[in-house]
């Protein structure tokens, strides 16, 4: 396809539809431009950059929310405000209402992508609110900070809908580059700069590996469109069975592994996690919270897109996918075990949370492993493969939704406590519960978040973990190793208890150090954290769990059409 025809197609065929779908991203881009301009014009003293950012993100969220509602209701909502929203955002059946690729096949639009975009923008909104409350960044650096954080989110939005290897690379780089700067944002702190440098070097290395993998894949298969990769490989192999002896297969597997290295770096999976503890310790807690949730959610969406590219009915594809699935499962268990054990000796809260996110990436990766194994069950299996695969993605989505709130609560408490005690060390948390009423609220919310991270009912973390374990357990009927992995995953829950409890013990049971003044925080902060932790309880013990699980199922189903 020559460039001319490409441009012609772009203008004639799906340009208007593409733009209609792309509106939230465009709004976010406009916000970024506005933030930069306001700096040049000097308007950032009159309208604080955080409010510009909040406004832009809100608009963007409203746009994507409208899209999701449109898809959910099929464009015919009986409630007047929703209908007005549809009309205001000019959603149409041919545009947003039609799922499929856009921008000449570079990106794909479906329920799954829309839901993830919505989640990411909601999360961005919550993080920006947190930064307003904690006062990082100061007014001087405001525009830079919000430009970076919005830019990184823009890359994440792209990542949820990638349909081309090129886009995959662009999306990963786009979310990574601003985050390198964000990690080093606390200028003048040595740890911060060191962390940023480590992050950059590591990121650049893994990007290089990934790019090489991409070139191998597209060179071997003659296409970069992810959804075509599987079909082409099946065509290439004809009736050959899957064996690592054949040169095509080994090249393909090598290419896939190299791409997975790039994704695993974003997910901070063992053994590509080395940057995480340092970067999290160096970065401010707000940035840590942002990186730990948002980039993970986006990378998981991207990973699903990538591995689903090799979905197909040819036996060779099924063996390949099972092979990748089991490999990912083993990696998942190694990640959670390592993360949980390494967290034992940590005394810095952000470092501890970094190891905790490594472990949680492991739990979530187990869902993708289960997805690949169940989806490619041999035809004689009793499983209803597609339905079970939907449940795997549903479980992952549920987990991410809960994870968004529980991890952000933890990081928010760390940031807010830092503002009072000027320390992120565990020793500064001794007897924190004996502080003022707002600090008490923060402590209780921290406990809720931590127990949810352990996976204790009645908090959302338990339900989410159970969904993933159930899916993985079912995958055990395809390959027994999944049962072993679930068993180890369960054991890891008990491992992880100790270090979370160590923090809670320090907060609730130790007496404060001698001469340490009782601290308190502004009441507004308490309300913020309370609202943030409320969904953890709601998603663990309320009828709304049904709604979220149905929405997640609705989104997941669109992947398997």
């Amino acid at each position: 396809m020559s460039a001319n025809t490409l441009i012609d197609e772009l203008w004639t065929q799906d340009f208007y539809r593409s733009v209609e779908i792309f509106v939230p991203e465009l709004i976010l881009s406009a916000t970024i431009v506005l933030l930069l301009l306001s700096r040049i014009m000097g308007c950032d003293k009159k309208v604080l950059p955080c409010w510009t950012a909040v406004g832009g993100v809100l608009l963007s969220f409203a746009a994507v929310f409208g899209q999701f509602l449109y898809l959910k209701t099929g464009g015919n909502s009986s409630t007047p405000p929703v209908q007005t929203l549809f009309e205001l955002t000019r959603l149409s059946e041919d545009g947003v209402g039609t799922i499929g690729t856009y921008f000449s096949g570079l990106l794909v639009h479906d329920h799954f992508a829309t839901l993830y975009r919505m989640g990411l923008l909601l999360f961005l909104l919550l993080v920006i609110t947190l930064t307003v409350l904690t006062g990082i960044p100061d007014d001087e650096d405001g525009p830079d900070f919000y430009v970076l954080i919005c830019g990184s989110t823009l890359g994440m939005l792209l990542a949820t809908g990638v349909n081309h290897l090129l886009m995959l690379f662009v999306a990963i780089e786009m979310m990574s580059l601003p985050s390198y700067v964000l990690v080093g944002f606390l200028k003048g702190r040595k740890v911060s700069s060191e962390a940023a440098l480590k992050y950059v070097v590591y990121g650049a290395g893994s990007a290089g590996v990934m790019l090489y993998g991409i070139s191998l894949l597209s060179g071997l298969l003659g296409s970069g469109v992810i959804s075509e990769l599987g079909g082409r490989f099946a065509f290439l192999m004809q009736d050959q069975a899957f064996s690592l002896g054949s040169s095509e297969t080994i090249t393909l597997v090598l290419g896939i592994i190299m791409v997975l290295v790039g994704v695993a770096f974003k997910l901070s999976l063992v053994p590509f996690h080395f940057w995480a503890p340092d970067a999290f310790e160096g970065a401010s807690a707000e940035v840590g919270g942002f990186l730990s949730v948002a980039s993970k959610a986006a990378a998981f969406a991207l990973l699903i897109r990538f591995v689903m590219g090799f979905d197909g009915t040819a036996p060779v594809l099924q063996s390949l996918s099972r092979f990748i699935g089991i490999g990912l499962g083993v990696m998942a268990v190694i990640s959670m075990t390592f993360g949980n054990l390494a967290a034992y000796t940590q005394t810095n809260m952000k470092r501890l949370l970094a190891y905790s996110t490594i472990a949680h990436a492991g739990y979530m990766l187990l869902a993708i492993s289960a997805l690949l194994v169940t989806l490619n069950a041999p035809s004689n299996s009793e499983l209803n493969a597609t339905q079970e695969a939907v449940h795997c993605v549903e479980g992952l989505t549920y987990y991410l939704a809960v994870y968004l709130f529980m991890n952000l609560t933890a990081f928010a408490v760390v940031a807010l406590v830092r503002n009072q005690t000027f320390s992120e060390d565990l020793s500064a948390y001794r007897g924190l519960f004996s502080g003022g009423p707002t600090i008490k609220v923060l402590c209780v919310c921290l406990a809720i978040s931590f127990f949810s991270l352990v996976g204790m009912p009645p908090f959302g973390g338990f339900t989410a973990k159970l969904f993933i374990f159930l899916s993985a357990f079912k995958a055990g009927s395809v390959h027994w190793i999944m049962w072993a992995l679930v068993g180890l995953g369960g054991l890891n829950t008990a491992f992880s208890l100790y270090f979370y409890l160590k923090v809670l013990k320090t907060v609730f049971m130790d007496s404060p150090a001698e001469g340490q003044p009782a601290v308190d925080a502004p009441p507004l902060v308490g309300w913020y954290v309370l609202i943030l932790s409320l969904p953890i309880v709601i998603l663990g013990a309320s009828p709304l769990q049904d709604d979220l699980s149905r929405i997640a199922e609705f989104a997941a189903e669109s992947l398997f059409r």
Binding site: E382, N384, Q387, H391, E394, F451, M456, P457, P458, F462, T463, L466, F467, F469, L470, F473, K474, G476, S477, V486, G487, G490, L491, T493, A494, L497, Y498, L501, K505, F508, M509, A541, P543, Q545, D546, S549, R550, E553
Partner: protein, 528 residues
């Protein structure tokens, strides 16, 4: 009030009161205590209403409530009560109320204490009333969180160690239960066609008709049994118990011994046995032997203690051994038919009665230890003596309660132990003789303790000047427990009548389940 409202309110009334406690002023400690007590009393009254509506002549679940919760995974909000759970619900309501009265001895951070205490009661009620495996698990863990803090914040000197040990042990047990839950969900998805099942009623029915393979039953039973044996506690999973008991404040010790230990037994009888009938029979001999060993081990260990509370804690290990034996005395002949099912039925009733009796007597014993600890601030058995002269009223009631723990005929402890030992004779006379000798050891350590603490010429230990007799609040708790111990001792039919039809149905369904599992497995064996 509809059944749904009655059962849900029984579970959630304490939570509602806990939330309302937030509205109290910080200084209104007395008001908060009274308010929390009202909450527990209301819950107890609701459980009495439940008893009033319960039809004792009928086997199976009554007042069932069912509402879809997470439909994608077939998880329901499903409650119900039967002859096995009703006595334990009543026990929970009662012990919680008495523990709330005993909570006046807690002096600091009172609001946090009461909120956690009430949440704990919600968890306990929920465990006994839920009929959905998922819901059961949720409540099971809900109980764990407040307990951790109640021991860890308001406990004795080594409270952090004890709380962590308790939490880790129980969580490991829970994880094993979780894996068993996954197994049943997965197995039942084949039987139900499509989605798996969490409903315990449905799962029991599948198990009765031989739906689960023998291997899976055995694996699941081992996982579930370890999970519940930790709570029961049975040797060798009991080591958390003495630490937790010694460090926990008195009211929490009462709840721990009075209700939480019963959850182990309840889990076995409600989940492990009905869902794995074949494995239960397969493991029966080991379970009984383990029970006998627990009785003897617990009794010897109790005899060796010098800490009053630790002694009572080990006596719990010993007493819960009877529960395990009673449930497991299931003997079959070569054809697989149950030998003398009436004996097994008696054992099962004895085991369940033992749970109730122990709930009353051990809560009483811990309370009595707490009363004396509040005065002299030590628990060293060798430094006591002569309390009968200084505190005659307290000592009299205490001796009565200790006799109930000993199993003196006419008091509650006797019925359960007698039933269990009698039913064991049919199972295995040697083990029966060993278990019966446990009764002598029990008498030994309890009488020796009474002698060391209450008799003797005079009290020589520290803080002798503080020895004043029980006040009205303490007397009310002690006397209620003693009165119940006597009532349950002379009129066991109050509770046995409630249990009878359900236990009979249970033994029948277990026998059927064993037959069907054997039949289902038989053709496969012949093919090989």
């Amino acid at each position: 009030m509809s059944d749904a409202a009655l059962l849900s309110l029984t579970i959630f009334t304490p939570t509602i009161f806990a939330v309302l406690l937030m509205a109290f002023d910080k200084k209104a400690e007395e008001g908060m205590r009274v308010f929390a007590l009202i909450g527990t009393v209301c819950t107890f009254l609701l459980s009495l209403v439940m008893w009033g509506r319960f039809n004792s002549a009928e086997a199976g679940y009554q007042m069932m409530v069912s509402a879809p919760w997470i439909t994608n995974w077939n998880i329901d909000y499903r409650l119900g009560v039967d002859g096995i759970s009703l006595p334990l619900v009543l026990l929970t309501g009662l012990v919680s109320t008495l523990a709330a009265v005993a909570s006046w001895s807690i002096k600091e951070k009172i609001r946090g204490y009461l909120i956690l205490f009430l949440m704990l009661e919600t968890g306990m009620m929920g465990v006994f009333l839920s009929l959905d495996f998922f819901l059961f698990y949720v409540f099971w863990e809900v109980m764990l969180l407040p307990m951790y803090f109640l021991i860890g914040v308001w406990g004795g000197p080594r409270r952090e160690y004890a709380a962590l040990k308790f939490f880790l042990y129980t969580l490991v047990g829970s994880v094993l239960m979780l894996i068993a839950m996954l197994m049943f969900y997965f197995d039942s998805s084949k039987l139900a066609g499509g989605k798996g099942v969490f409903s315990l009623i449905q799962l029991t029915e599948y198990a009765r008709t031989g739906g689960f393979s023998q291997t899976n039953q055995l694996i699941a039973f081992i996982l579930l049994f370890i999970g519940f044996a930790i709570k029961l506690p049975s040797f060798p999973f009991h080591t958390w118990l003495p630490d937790a008991h010694v460090e926990a404040p008195t009211p929490i010790s009462m709840i721990l011994a009075g209700v939480l230990l019963k959850m182990g037994g309840y889990g076995i009888i409600r989940i492990a046995m009905p869902l794995c009938p074949w494995a239960t029979q397969y493991a029966a001999w080991y379970l009984v032997a383990l029970g006998v060993f627990s009785i003897l081990y617990g009794a010897f260990a109790a005899m060796a203690q010098t800490d009053f509370k630790r002694m009572v804690a080990y006596s719990s290990v010993s007493h819960m051994g009877y529960v395990l034996i009673g449930l497991a005395v299931w003997k079959i002949d070569e054809t697989g038919a149950t030998v003398r099912p009436d004996h097994w039925l008696m054992g099962m009733q004895g085991g369940m009665y033992q749970m109730l009796a122990h709930g009353i007597s051990s809560a009483g014993m811990f309370f009595m230890v707490g009363v004396i600890y509040d005065r002299v601030h030590h628990r060293d058995l060798n430094k006591f003596g002569g309390l009968m002269q200084r505190m005659p009223w307290y000592s009299g009631v205490a001796v009565g309660i200790f006799f109930a723990g000993l199993g003196l005929p006419g008091l509650c402890g006797f019925i359960g132990e007698a039933f269990v030992v009698l039913s064991m004779w049919n199972f295995n006379p040697t083990l029966a003789i060993l278990a019966a000798s446990g009764v002598i050891l029990t008498a030994g350590y309890i009488l020796w303790t009474i002698q060391r603490v209450y008799f003797g010429p005079e009290y020589k230990g520290p803080h002798g000047e503080d020895l004043v007799d029980m006040n009205g609040r303490e007397s009310s708790v002690a006397v209620s427990l003693l009165a119940l111990a006597i009532v349950f001792g002379i009129m066991p039919s109050i509770m046995l009548d409630v249990m009878n039809p359900t236990t009979e149905a249970l033994t029948q369904s277990l026998s059927d389940g064993y037959d069907n599992s054997s039949k289902a497995a038989a053709p496969q064996v012949s093919l090989k």
